[in-house]
Symmetry: C2
Subunit: 411 residues, 2 copies
């Protein structure tokens, strides 16, 4: 009986592990693969033949995995380059040696490029019985084609919940205390995360990468709001930038290993402008940083369920020998009023290396938030509370496999 | 039938409103006061005669109030000064005019000083039938006498939950990526909040105000941990300081209206030291800022229950005409093994203007965290999940009274 390999890549989210859990569970319901091998640290684990055997996971372990943020198998930022044939040949030979017919790759658009490329290579070389299947994830919600990216709903829920509660906090003092509160979210190129704060109903101003940062207009809006009601609640994406593309965050943006800019500090830059212009005597900043992508304890039930289902769906599709170079996908059902999704598959290269922006038509003029249509799109994605398995008052977590001494022997 | 007044003061927490809800509910169970008047913005609302009538709150409204962070009545930083007789006389005359026999004041140690002082003044002047009763709250857990402060458990739960999940996030990349993660908590003078992160079991180093910041030792410890396992998880209180009392945060600490230093930036200062010393090539920072004190959506069930009970207890005690200048209090039961508390009362001036520090004997050498005894003390305080009333995927919140148009007519 053939085996399969699963790997996780890219930045953490609250529900990547739910997709992994779905693949594992599907193979227990229909054991078409003898072993489900988890690769440690993404494609690096495949290249280095670092595998753990996930086939025998108990139902309880599976439930705990679904509520554990980040990647239990470890992640990587290593990307298979199309001109590096050594790597791709190594992947093929490892799969042959471990009798792995399918490689499931859970990740963002860079990972979908890997899926497309491996599939293309195998087909070109006439390598039979090797399938490469992508499972989408990213808190940024900037993947093409798919209605929304698994991981976004949970991040949005945490951001909106935090916004709602911080607003209760900052409005508590009398009007004599004028104050601007600035909530900074992730979102280098896309404003989905910042926009999700608007679900709270408390956001006065929204600054996203899709709309050029206009200092004059923004300061004037803040001045008006402070005058009217003494407190102003601003949400800003880390990727807020001027017309020429310069980030407001800082001139010294570093690049990560994929050449993407690493940001942070947009809120502090805006604070500086506000204080210097005398628009408000006080500013308070909340940078959501790492917490926004790893707060699985408040994950959206819709999000975690869909992520699990995408894993199941990927496994089920993989029984078709011709199913390769694909990404499992979801779209909203249009045949009913209530929210529900249906699962299908698309070519992975339709997703790879593109970014879907927050629609400009969903932004209100003068940075005053988002339209009702935008809220309607986002609202169902944050619904439902997780039923957490707790231990000593904290959510139980899967001990990451990359920290356990449980790798199988190399073949 | 006489009335009573309730006011809230000081910085927000996740459960101050639960204490308010307890007072309101107790008066519905035993209506000894004709009206429960809520003062808008603490003692300022009493002085300005800004009241709302809370007597008729429904059970559902009461439940929502318990899950709403911050102070639904608004807060203040105005403190009655002992040499300002005008203010204290105004309080007495307002209480007489509104036929308010009791003033419940929910707050921290500054508020307990107000309770003590008003009570002392009334007694000195022979003013009969006026009672002043304090209900404790503070996320900082630095109140004297009481076993633990209402608000601390919920903040601790959020901090430990966030630490646990951020650790899953930062450890996800291969060992070749060396990284220090720095979690900054509130805690100007006391390290309770930072120490609570240790409940997660993932903290490598803990830096609190109770132990002088020793740069050399700390950098050496980080160097060792990075060498051993490539990632290092540090938790630091905003109030971390050198032997001479200088905060590591910055030289420009501002003072708030009570003369307390307003801090923030300890993590960034430490990051600078780490990068300059070359101890790690990367640092990531998570400042918990406002979120840590207002994240009621993950409040501890134990904490919210105790806070509600303290409000009930205050109301019940207030039926005794001699009960004034007191703070309702709780202590752990010693007659049983499992965790439970009993309620009693103490003189408010035993709490006023003192700070209880995190015990030094509970700190491990070389900033390596806390002892098992410390964990045993904290563990029961974060237990139990709230049963939230949700709306569109977000916890329902009480619309703050200071934003509603519902104040009663002045008398």
């Amino acid at each position: 009986m053939p085996n399969c390999i699963v790997a996780q890549s890219g930045g953490p989210s609250s529900v990547i592990n739910a997709t992994l859990a779905g693949i594992i569970k599907a193979n227990q319901l229909n054991p078409v693969y003898g072993h489900v091998y988890g690769a440690i640290n993404g494609i690096e684990g495949v290249l280095q033949e670092r595998f753990v055997d996930l086939s025998k996971m108990t139902e309880r372990e599976n439930l705990v995995l679904r509520q554990t943020p980040s990647s239990a198998l470890g992640s990587c930022r290593y990307k298979l380059q199309r001109d590096n044939l050594e790597d791709v040949e190594k992947v093929m030979s490892v799969m042959e040696r471990y009798d792995a017919e399918t490689l499931f790759y859970i990740g963002g658009n860079d990972s979908m490029d890997t899926v497309a490329w491996l599939s293309e290579y195998a087909s070109k070389k006439g390598i039979k019985n090797r399938r490469f299947i992508g499972c989408p994830k990213t808190i940024d919600n900037d993947l093409m084609v798919i209605d929304h990216a698994p991981g976004f709903g949970s991040a949005a829920k945490f951001i909106a919940t935090t916004a709602l509660q911080c607003w209760q906090d900052i409005t508590v003092y009398p009007p004599s205390r004028k104050e601007v509160f600035i909530l900074e979210t992730m979102g280098r190129d896309a404003g989905w995360l910042a926009a999700s704060a608007c679900l709270s109903g408390v956001v006065d101003l929204l600054i996203v990468p899709e709309k050029t940062f206009d200092k004059e207009v923004i300061l004037e809006e803040i001045r008006q709001i402070i005058e009217e009601r003494s407190k102003c609640f601003v949400v800003i994406s880390e990727g807020a930038h001027y017309a020429d593309g310069t980030y407001i965050a800082s001139g010294e943006a570093r690049n990560d290993l994929f050449g993407h800019a690493v940001l942070g500090g947009a809120a502090r830059a805006l604070e500086q402008m506000i204080l210097e212009a005398g628009v408000s005597p006080r500013c308070k900043i909340q940078e959501l940083s790492t917490a926004q992508r790893s707060h699985a304890s408040e994950q959206s039930r819709v999000d975690v369920t869909e992520s699990f289902n995408l894993g199941m769906s990927a496994h089920m599709h993989s029984m078709d020998p011709a199913f390769t170079g694909k990404m499992v996908c979801l779209r909203r059902r249009k045949d009913i009023e209530e929210y529900d999704v249906e699962y299908y598959a698309i070519d992975a290269d339709r997703v790879a290396n593109f970014v879907r922006n927050f629609p400009e038509k969903w932004l209100l003029p003068n940075f005053r938030g988002v339209t009702e249509e935008a809220l309607e799109y986002m609202r169902p994605l944050i619904k439902g509370q997780p039923q957490l398995i707790m231990e000593h008052g904290l959510p139980e977590m899967t001990v990451p496999y990359y920290m356990r001494d449980c790798e199988i022997e190399k073949k």
